[in-house]
Symmetry: C2
Subunit: 93 residues, 2 copies
DNA sequence: AAACTTAATCGTAATATTGCAATAAATAAA
DNA sequence: TTTATTTATTGCAATATTACGATTAAGTTT
């Protein structure tokens, strides 16, 4: 087993669980808090801010993006991340 | 690894992550929603409500209790579960 | 006491998550 | 075009989660 039986629950329940799960790690909470504070930043800024290696931060960013909590836009050779207000407000506000 | 580096984050970040993680599974979302709807119930009621076996439900209840989201009181040979308003309001309201 | 009810725990298998070194990919600057 | 810069991906090891059958524990009823 080990696999969640998502098909037995409603879409709403699964979506809420997905969003909550994305926030269910202190590093991702810290990333979201930082993004709220600075409004937008690149991955390297978060690597400097957190006690985690670059690949680990990149992976956390990917999960937050998959959950729809953040979005990234290409900015030169860097990627500018910010909160996805549409999802965030639906979840939080 | 696989173990979260909780000691590198603040207590607030860890607590929020713990609460979010507890809600990060559709079964636990469903349990909370059901508890809000019926106000209070015993484990067996939830087993009848969800497509999961009794030990699985019991385990989810334990995690919700550990996170402080619900509390249980002995009621005959059953256990009456309800939302822990103190934690719930701090998290949600 | 014996039978029943209710829920927790144990044990175990399947799967997911976390973390990072090493590497790759993609753009920018020289 | 070589060299930086920046981020994503791969591969892997350690640990955590999910699920449930079997069993246990504790109270209730007969």
């Amino acid at each position: 087993m080990g696999a969640t039986k998502t098909d037995h629950f409603t879409d709403q329940q699964n979506e809420l669980a997905t969003l909550a799960k994305a926030l269910g790690h202190p590093a991702r909470v810290a990333i979201i808090e930082y993004l709220i504070k600075v409004d937008a930043c690149i991955c390297g800024d978060i690597v400097n801010e957190l006690p985690l290696a670059q690949p680990t931060v990149s992976q956390h960013l990917k999960e937050l993006k998959n959950a729809g909590l953040i979005k990234g836009s290409i900015e030169g050779n860097a990627i500018c991340y910010c909160i996805d207000d549409q999802t965030w407000n639906r979840f939080h506000g």
